[in-house]
């Protein structure tokens, strides 16, 4: 297990000692000058070979900066788990774009609003704690607002919450969405140094990949770019491979997968209106069907479109 520290500002020796209770000299600084530089991953103590590999995986481009921002939003305990599952999902996100996001939006809109409200009350609470709150707001009143938003969210969106919290691997302390006290604690202490605990280079690589296509927006929302598909094409281009073929495969499977999901969702949506009550089971069934259809189509076309490209090229060359 390697402990990696990333900061968003420069720390000199006395500041660091006061902040972490440890001497800066114990840190393995790759930068010099006796200070801790912002957005530079550090290990504590002597760097082992394994840790050096992890640092190398984290230290390219703007990764540390993104990782810092993302872990502020997700919490240090969760970002490793989230990046793990997101990388697994990343191929599927674009195929799912047609299906899940659409159906989800119908119900999800309200859920996102509830989470947003909860988050806003937490931010207001933090302002009050730091004496920056609006006039008249006390710690007690801000706390009550947090509770109310939390109760509302818990009462109305059980299923969404368990889905969202399931994505973030269960930690003993619980996630902020599930546990009000933990959310209040996170709001109270806004730490500028993030500590990540990584077990392997594999995890570090996943984290670095995740940081490339996940963006932390101002309000704490995370946007995952579909653009990551492009990376397959770019890799092929970089290695002097047949990148036109790869582009054809990626884009054709995207088109087929998206249309499959959209058509299934749209037809299913119309069919659902014929039921007197669109029960949650109906919605979930629709999401699952549309997503499965979309994914399956994506895989099938991906597996076959390479040979389509070859056939077309052969035919063109024979003219």
């Amino acid at each position: 297990m390697a402990e990696i520290l990333i900061s968003n500002r420069t720390w000199n020796k006395p500041q660091f000692k006061q902040m972490c209770g440890e001497s800066l000299d114990a840190m393995q600084c790759s930068g010099s000058g006796g200070v801790m530089w912002p957005y530079e991953p550090y290990t504590v103590g002597q760097t082992s070979y394994n840790e050096e590999l992890i640092l190398r995986a984290l230290r390219n481009n703007h990764c540390p900066q993104n990782i810092h921002a993302l872990s502020s939003v997700l919490g240090e305990d969760h970002i490793v788990g989230v990046s793990d599952s997101m990388v697994k999902l990343h191929d599927t996100t674009s195929a799912l774009a047609g299906a899940t996001s659409t159906v989800h939006a119908a119900r999800g809109d309200k859920f996102v609003l509830a989470v947003q409200r909860y988050q806003n009350t937490l931010l207001a609470y933090r302002d009050v704690v730091r004496d920056k709150g609006t006039t008249g707001a006390t710690k007690a009143s801000a706390g009550i607002a947090v509770s109310a938003a939390f109760e509302h969210m818990q009462k109305h969106f059980q299923r969404e919450l368990s889905m969202t919290a399931g994505l973030q691997r269960a930690s003993r302390k619980g996630t902020p969405l599930r546990n009000r006290t933990r959310a209040l604690n996170i709001a109270r202490s806004s730490r500028s140094i993030k500590k990540l605990e990584l077990v392997s280079t594999l995890q570090a690589g996943k984290l670095a990949r995740f940081s490339k296509y996940g963006k932390a927006l101002g309000n704490g929302l995370i946007v995952v770019d579909v653009a990551s598909r492009i990376s397959n094409v770019q890799n092929e281009y970089k290695t002097d491979g047949n990148w036109e073929r790869e582009l054809f495969v990626e884009s054709s499977s995207f088109v087929a997968g998206a249309w499959a999901g959209i058509i299934t969702a749209n037809a299913g949506y119309a069919a659902l209106t014929f039921l007197t009550v669109a029960t949650p089971a109906g919605w979930v069934g629709l999401i699952v069907t549309a997503a499965a259809a979309s994914l399956h189509m994506n895989n099938k076309v991906k597996a076959n479109s390479g040979s389509w490209y070859d056939d077309v090229m052969d035919w063109l060359n024979s003219l």
Partner: protein
């Protein structure tokens, strides 16, 4: 004919349908979105541009079924009566061609994939 070749046929149709999607969006939808009377009756927009699909679906389905969907959906589906009033025959034909091309090709691809799962092409 191999599975791969057979799958390529509806895929080409799907691409043609996607071209019609753009044409329909530029010709009919642009016109409809400019009319204040119908602007908000084009169906729910899950994603930007989703209303293009729901308008095409409404114009393709038999009018009575579309009206029932509209009644049952509490206003989230496109309004067929208004749509028929504000579209020309050309718009309707365009919508039907676009919607049928996309739906049939996706459906054909599904059928092929399912047949392939049962080992018909082995």
């Amino acid at each position: 004919m191999t599975f791969s070749t057979l799958l390529a046929i509806p895929f080409v149709v799907l691409l043609v349908g996607s071209v019609f999607f753009v044409i329909f969006g530029q010709v009919t939808m642009r016109k409809l979105r400019k009319k204040p009377e119908i602007r908000h009756e084009l169906g729910i927009e899950f994603l930007s541009g989703w209303d293009i699909l729901s308008v095409a679906q409404t114009l393709t389905l038999p009018k009575s079924i579309a009206q029932r969907i509209r009644r049952n959906s509490r206003g989230t589906a496109a309004d067929p009566d208004l749509l028929y009033r504000y579209t020309t025959l050309f718009d309707r034909v365009l919508a039907r061609v676009f919607y049928m091309l996309i739906t049939l090709s996706v459906f054909a691809m599904f059928v092929l994939i399912i047949l392939d799962e049962f080992g018909v092409f082995d």
